[in-house]
Symmetry: C2
Subunit: 455 residues, 2 copies
Amino acid sequence: MHYPKLMTMSGYRDRVQRLLKAASANVGDRIKVEGAGRTYEGVLMPRTELGDPNHLVLKLQSGYNLGVKIGTSTKIKLLEKGKPPKLSVPKLELKPDPSKPNVTIIGTGGTIASRVDYRTGAVFPAFTPEEIYSAVPELAEIANIKVVEACNVFSEHMTPELWVKVGKAIVKELNSAASGVVIAHGTDTLGYTAAALSFMLKGLHRPVVLVGSQRSSDRPSSDSAMNLIGAVTVAGTSDIAEVCVVMHGSMDDEFCLIHRGTKVRKCHTSRRDTFMSINDIPIGMVRGRELRLFRGDYKHAKPKGRVTVDEKFEPKVALLKVTPGVPSSIIDSVLKAGNKGIVLEGTGLGHVPEPLFPGIKRAVAKGVPVIMTSQCLWGRIDMKVYSTGRDLLQLGVIPGEDMLPEVAWVKLMWVLRHAKNLKEVSKLMQCNLSGEITPRTRPDVFLKPVFTLTP
Amino acid sequence: MHYPKLMTMSGYRDRVQRLLKAASANVGDRIKVEGAGRTYEGVLMPRTELGDPNHLVLKLQSGYNLGVKIGTSTKIKLLEKGKPPKLSVPKLELKPDPSKPNVTIIGTGGTIASRVDYRTGAVFPAFTPEEIYSAVPELAEIANIKVVEACNVFSEHMTPELWVKVGKAIVKELNSAASGVVIAHGTDTLGYTAAALSFMLKGLHRPVVLVGSQRSSDRPSSDSAMNLIGAVTVAGTSDIAEVCVVMHGSMDDEFCLIHRGTKVRKCHTSRRDTFMSINDIPIGMVRGRELRLFRGDYKHAKPKGRVTVDEKFEPKVALLKVTPGVPSSIIDSVLKAGNKGIVLEGTGLGHVPEPLFPGIKRAVAKGVPVIMTSQCLWGRIDMKVYSTGRDLLQLGVIPGEDMLPEVAWVKLMWVLRHAKNLKEVSKLMQCNLSGEITPRTRPDVFLKPVFTLTP
């Protein structure tokens, strides 16, 4: 067990600690906090030592955690003793079943691998095989689970260096006994990591499945169990030898979609069906433990293989979203900051305001590639339709086809360390390396509103 | 008539001009261009003098215009004389009908007001009332049309100064005889202009409707006539006293949607149903000339009123999209460039990587407001759920609620010139000024994929 810190009162210090002690209140107890004209009721949550010492954390009835400021006149009252936290889980018979696939779950710090929200001070970070099985018992029916931790950060703090760490952990597992790998990842930057792994992993012969959770698993609406079952099913039983993302496909607990790692994007701050395949259909879906593939044109798994990590990323690449009246100096600032490449998030088919043209010309002359993507997100760059686009092509801007701006940004980081010159960068950026460019867009891969109208 | 330049060969000079002359080819003729092993056939298009003199522009069978480079060995052959461009249109009886509303169409340079693509060198920029009626005769049945030109730029070249010019043109019309105004605008930055006008126009008592076209009107799939009919219908006959956007609501010529100017976004590079209301339902729809409103909570028109332009915008505001590993120096660069405000396009519920915290702190200390929006686009900022968000709130970051990043950016430009201090900026940014913040999001205002699966 490696979570003693989270189980104790050690996150509370000084005055807050004294007040809680005086009220005989412990983590897990339901308490009332009164002060400054406000009253809050909730379950006292554990917290890390890093936080502001003048706050305590309550889990409200709504399921959300709230930080409550403790002033000089604040009173704390114990309402109900919590059940003592169950530190041990029933010991399971965990002999590997040779008829089942071996799936390694690699943790990065996301909420999925916890029984309560890891980020806000989880009581039960389920992270030994026993605990994972105990939280999601169905997993034992699908695969022999091994659990590994690659890093432990909130996903907004992910970095290119950590992508490589995750990549190395994946390769280690796939080159030993794993039939597939699941990466438990916070949802904020899950799409970026999926894209990075797609370019980084070479010779992939088995599934690599990223999974996350939009709701912490102590809330009734949690999506973590279903997403995890879907991800382990794809990793253990599918023949998709690609980096993909498995997340809820609808608001209800109906099914998960299997998105290609280079075509997926988080599109909603809080909904469970937040991840969408952009400019292409998903690879398939998982309903319960049943796989349904929508297409056959993915890389198919092989029984044997050797995966490697091609880990070179150029960290100095700018992603620049263009707005009306954007100052002409912005490209030069980006160059001055030492960037080796620029991805423009232009307007429409791939346009930017004319005042940016001279800066772009200077960038290209310096050997700094400038890639065009669209802030529309859906659709394809076409710089031959209007004169602004044609002018930009003449300046040397490289059209990003139907790539998401974020994916083009990750790709350029990778390409810059794998191309000898600007010409090769241009060639690689316009070449479909890992499914990031759809050669021909289906006419039906846009979106429609789901709202229903009352008559 | 004010388009003689576009009707002539004046865009062609030097060698290209000589070759065309030798082939007796004129604008409008079908020609064959052979050279460097390639052959192109199409209609010779007029072009502006600004372009590269070594190219000519052909309109291909597909409807797209192509710039063809003319080398030393290029041959040009006349295939078919074009019909002489119809310079005059039948003179209509254009006595204003007192039973009909007066609608002013204000041009900005978009494709809508042309019978062929204005941007690529239109042959028939339909921009007198007669021509508009002749191109879209149905308009005469809806309203008495007046036509005004506010500016003439491709919409990617729109600027805050031009927003004000358009705003002044609107006010002039609404304060005289117009029952409503239609702004013909390129689609690339139409959403930005709609947001700017929403904050800028004060005391609006009549509809202001932005409209654009995704396909030039000489292509069979053009959406300009239907969009224009929808826009004039809303401007002339609805009681929506708001800035709104009327564009195709589906791939087919079925209906247009009426989007609120502060909730709308271009979401596809080429589809006709590219504009979407984000985080709210549209105000209504127009099918043919029949209005159907989805809601009653819009500002209702009044028979009389006086509109003003509150035109002060702070041009120095940065929109910053956050990516993994974004350098900590980026906030200081933005400050150094003289920006008076920063809109962050963060991840998820409103997060940025920790290395940005010190820069954000310095910005706030300098009195530079930092607004949080989400690159998810859909959903609402909630910075109280996770510790990163709570830390950012403590640093003084202002949550952007459910505002689109682009709209928050336009709003901050406006707010910075209308607030006395940081506290007032914070208050105004979190206050719903023009429909940009939806107090409570409907659970069904997300999107679903439209793709259909073959069994």
